[in-house]
């Protein structure tokens, strides 16, 4: 059985798709067969970040409606043969997703894959609800600012009450905090919430801090999951996050300002 991971946040623009792409690639590169699904029906982005937008034939909704098989629809990543992408439909909307349909697709994927990463859309409507409904683990992506923290908090409440695990009375979803776009220099200057502030509000296990980094935007534009940019801090942060998720003990590297290098980079 696959482990189903949802990458969610409530708020938009915090880095869910970037994180989904990076985590999926990270898990695949560690040798685990991984599928990543774009749940953002109508606002498809994951294929761009993964750099496979020119190879999309069928999509998630086609599979749900039985118009195409999973095998036909899954796009194999060119850089890692353990990674497959299930793109969203751009011409439909979120109502095309049904609980039964999503459940069937996830069940089929579970037979073949070790990890299934669900890239949730923003908001708390149908798309986001279905992305998290079948999850075993939740990566809650949060930016260190108050509105993002509050939306994450709301999402955590939904994870705890409206998921399949909650409805069946099973063990609750494992929730992990990913703090993205973090800038130690701005925290120091009092312009940004610190890791401690966010953890205090959300009382959640910190899986990793992803520093604010130009490499994220560059990687997105190039259709390259940022985890493959091993020189960048963001790439390193995601490598650490995947390792921690797999049970390794890694110290947090990007919480404190490092010898002024980060400070220089982010002071602008």
């Amino acid at each position: 059985m696959a482990r189903i991971i949802v990458v969610t946040s409530g708020k938009g623009g915090v880095g869910k798709t970037t994180t989904s792409a990076a985590i999926a690639m990270g898990l695949a590169k560690r040798g685990h067969k991984t599928a990543v699904i774009d749940f953002d029906v109508g606002l498809r982005n994951l294929d761009l970040i993964m750099g496979c937008e020119r190879r999309v034939v069928y999509d998630f909704i086609n599979v749900i409606n039985g118009e195409a098989s999973l095998k036909q629809t899954l796009i194999k990543d060119k850089r890692c043969n353990q990674l497959f992408i299930l793109p969203a439909s751009q011409t439909r909307d979120k109502d095309a997703l049904t609980k039964e349909g999503v459940g069937k697709v996830l069940e089929e994927l579970s037979k073949e894959f070790k990890y299934v990463v669900c890239d949730s859309p923003a908001g708390i409507e149908q798309g986001a609800n279905l992305a998290m409904y079948y999850a075993d683990d939740a990566f809650v992506v949060t930016n260190p600012e108050v509105s993002s923290v509050r939306d994450s908090d709301r999402m955590l409440g939904i994870l705890a009450s409206k998921s399949r695990r909650a409805e069946n009375g099973d063990e609750p979803i494992n929730e992990y905090l990913l703090l993205s776009r973090y800038s130690p220099a701005r925290v120091k200057a009092g312009e940004m919430l610190s890791v401690d502030d966010v953890q205090d509000i959300l009382s959640l296990e910190l899986l990793g801090v992803i520093p604010e980094s130009k490499s994220v935007l560059n990687a997105s534009n190039a259709g390259l999951p940022v985890i493959l940019d091993e020189q960048s801090d963001a790439g390193k942060a995601y490598v650490d996050i995947v390792a921690r998720y797999l049970g390794e003990d890694k110290p947090h590297r990007f919480i404190d300002e490092k010898k002024g290098i980060l400070g220089k980079l982010f002071r602008s």
Partner: protein, 250 residues
């Protein structure tokens, strides 16, 4: 399904003794119009609380005064206003037989509430006291309605306790915790806390770190802006004194 004959299967039902708290409605006047008028007033104050509320009709007072009433009429009025009469007590023989005809059980007149408690109630409009009494009883005499929450209460979540509410985790901004009794929060309170939700003015709120958006006891509230900085970010006890919320550091 056959009864009496032994069956190899598990029994389909079981009778157990149980007791429950039900508001009793003491009739004071034999005037049906007056009764309905006061009833409407009470409902207007808390429509949700009274809707489909079970109620025991108490006839002791009215019989003591020797007033005669048409029980069926009173029952009809109660039903029209969405009460669910579940019995009468203190009725005369005739009233009891009417009650049975109306499918209402007849309860014995003494028992339940100690008479002293009733006498202490000032002789104003009775339904009012009834409403308060019924709300307070579970809090004061009945511990089973209390609720314990050990998980953080997230933004957008709402928790309601019929008795005391004890929370051993933080309450997030945008969350709402409501209790008919006291509220204890062993963590930060960033959301809203409303104690004494059914009017119990002696309810208290305790929290170990006050950042609340709003605190209220028995409908008397303070929003964050009205809370003095001196008590913020501190462990506090909140009580109600003559319609004013008192927030004290502890």
């Amino acid at each position: 399904m056959s009864t009496g004959s032994p069956s190899p299967h598990k029994t389909a039902l079981e009778f157990k003794s149980t007791s429950l708290n039900v508001p009793s409605l003491i009739l004071i006047s034999d005037q049906i119009n007056q009764f309905e008028h006061h009833l409407k007033e009470k409902i207007a104050q808390a429509p949700e609380f009274f809707k489909h509320s079970p109620v025991l009709i108490d006839l002791q007072d009215i019989n003591k005064k020797g007033l005669e009433i048409n029980l069926a009429e009173f029952v009809d009025v109660l039903k029209i206003h969405h009460f669910l009469p579940i019995g009468v007590r203190g009725g005369t023989k005739e009233q009891n037989s009417i009650a049975i005809a109306l499918h209402l059980p007849v309860h014995s007149a003494h028992s339940t509430m100690p008479p002293a408690q009733q006498k202490n109630q000032p002789k104003t409009i009775k339904p009012e006291n009834q409403a308060e009494q019924s709300a307070q009883t579970p809090v004061q005499s009945n511990g089973i309605e209390n609720k314990l929450v050990t998980q953080p209460i997230r933004s957008g979540q709402r928790v309601y306790a019929k008795g005391d509410l004890i929370i051993t985790a933080p309450v997030s901004a945008g969350a709402e915790v409501v209790a008919e009794g006291n509220i204890h929060i062993y963590g930060a309170l960033r959301g809203r806390a409303l104690a004494g939700a059914q009017g119990a003015e002696d309810s208290l709120i305790f929290c170990s770190d006050l950042h609340a958006e709003l605190v209220a006891i028995a409908g008397n509230y303070k929003v964050s802006d009205d809370i003095e900085d001196a008590v913020k970010n501190k462990p506090v006890q909140i009580s109600l004194d003559d319609q004013a919320l008192i927030i004290q550091p502890i």
